[in-house]
Subunit: 400 residues, 2 copies
Amino acid sequence: MPDLSRRTCELPSSPIRKLAPLAAKAKQEGKTVYHLNIGQPDIPTPQAFMDGVRNADIDVLAYSPSPGLPETLAALRGYYAHHGIDLATEQLCVTIGGSEAFTFAMKAAMDPGDEVIIPEPFYPNYRGYACLTTTTVVPITTVAEEGFHLPAAEAIEAKITDRTRAFLFSNPGNPTGVVYTEDELKRIVRLATKHDLFVISDEVYREFVYDGETHTSMLSLPEVAQRVIVTDSLSKRFSVCGARIGCIVSRNAEVMTAALRLGQARLSPPVVEEFAAAAALRLSPAEYVEPMIAAFEQRRNVVYDAVSEMPGVLGYKPAGAFYMAPEFPVDDAEKFVEWMLADFDLDGETTMLAPAEGFYSTPGRGRSEARIAYVLNEEELARAMTCLAAGLAAYPGRTS
Amino acid sequence: MPDLSRRTCELPSSPIRKLAPLAAKAKQEGKTVYHLNIGQPDIPTPQAFMDGVRNADIDVLAYSPSPGLPETLAALRGYYAHHGIDLATEQLCVTIGGSEAFTFAMKAAMDPGDEVIIPEPFYPNYRGYACLTTTTVVPITTVAEEGFHLPAAEAIEAKITDRTRAFLFSNPGNPTGVVYTEDELKRIVRLATKHDLFVISDEVYREFVYDGETHTSMLSLPEVAQRVIVTDSLSKRFSVCGARIGCIVSRNAEVMTAALRLGQARLSPPVVEEFAAAAALRLSPAEYVEPMIAAFEQRRNVVYDAVSEMPGVLGYKPAGAFYMAPEFPVDDAEKFVEWMLADFDLDGETTMLAPAEGFYSTPGRGRSEARIAYVLNEEELARAMTCLAAGLAAYPGRTS
């Protein structure tokens, strides 16, 4: 039989999903598993979205225009305007989730063999799509001790070669929860300008910022208006991960022409969800997003306080998204996560994290780290943290 | 500013959609445009599908498993079993339309520089995805005189090199309506076996076969069970083009492992439509598909009879799908289509076709051909054919 392509053979399996069979087994055996391994919030989807689904008045469920339904694009423009970002309709293209926005950005910016610089740890699907587009990820390592903030400009610049085409990051950050400071964003702006790079900014967690801090969109920085490609998604902000509605945004007309062609190549986003997304986007922040963010800030506090008290764990206070990636006093976080599922329980309960090694590109890095996604309510999170602390204390592979 | 990637610059814009602005202008000016340019049927979506949408009982619209919801996979298994094809669940993966199924197949089979053999004319998105995966399309030209059937084995074999990885085709065919004979399928089987190739079979028009003929799925040929990758879609068979639900099917476990990883990389299909698709797939053929196919056979007859009577037009009787790609007595079919929109009307009405040159990979081929998609009711089709005949008679670029 013919061999599969090298690119799919090299495609990493998801570090977030690959231990799912062990979790399924634990649940079959009657254990309660607190799923802090996957960024799937428990927050109910807004009524306006589900009403949008139910009220879809459709005789023939036809293709929408490739860049999206006019009403969805109009609702997106309104959403960005509320965030102080004025966009023309042709600067937006509806995508099938943030995932597709990201693939459009990568395909538009990168040819085979090109290099993209990404601060690590990073969202693992970045690597997957780099693999599929046969481009090379060049990591800049960031560390828990510094709250995963960026290194100095020189350290970043040392990674730039004549094949470097783009600087890519999520802000607020997955899996770290870092929110970049204005100083860090200016560092990126200067380097992108000096070295003629695209800036691909994944802003799906835009509103998930705590402690009164604010998020700065790359779309609000005029110096790089023509370099910036923002990938975005409704998944987290409206708890509609299953809707697969996102968008790609750029003021660079060539990028948007490429996005349109890429959109034509897949014909149309899912239309029922496009209608429903327009309804959700018209909600005022006070109706849905703001109370949700307040709830996540409380959850962040529960996790941060609990982790701070776990002996030997190197934590930090994540300022955004709904993740934290502490370093644990264990030999290998993947083995620890497996052990928590297979060999441990506290009164029939256990906690599942995502081992962080798959979030790194540098071999061997992150082996003692794991990502906590605080996507459950405070009570469940508190119990999950109690299980985690007890598991850590009992784990035979403990290193300190 | 940085240049876009070569692969997106080379990405062809859709020959089906690129004349849309001219059509919009014609409609603004008050003309009625019969859209026979795009494969968007007018058939109402089944009530069962829309009820599935409306009745979706969802609190949190979460990701589904990457290969699809269990109920959707079960319904797909039932659908294939009805067609005499027994599949295990892991031989199926739900995709975001047939488009994604096709990208999964291409990514699994092809590395940059590899070659895929495709009978031309072919569905233009095949070339788009070949471009995006930086693989090379090697066309086998088929011709209207032979009803677009395949050439002899020797002509196909002459195109096979040591970079050839797959043989790809749609059957029933888009844009030709050809349905391959058993003899043709055996030709493909022998060549794929002899030269160790994958066979990527696009079967989205499986049921669209007329005159009592039958369609043979590549999944029913045991000699190539490990070579075959079928791409499929609910779009046409349930008139749900906007739902974006398809699937990839293979009995090759490595292919399905690759599909699973590719599925994880985009997380999930659109979940509301997955639920609704399961409901549509459980309909008996007599409830929906059979009467629809009978209607399309009547439409095929209207178009075939009308085209047969147009002087100078080289037609043939298409046996399947809902397309026909006649050769017209015109200098350039694209100019003719533009003229029909901009400069012609018959009592305020005109007809829009898809110029066929974009369906060919060989430069210059198909310049006098255009695809007719018979996706309107018989009455409208008859008027559309009358407009077409009148336009052809009046067109200044007529060649005979």
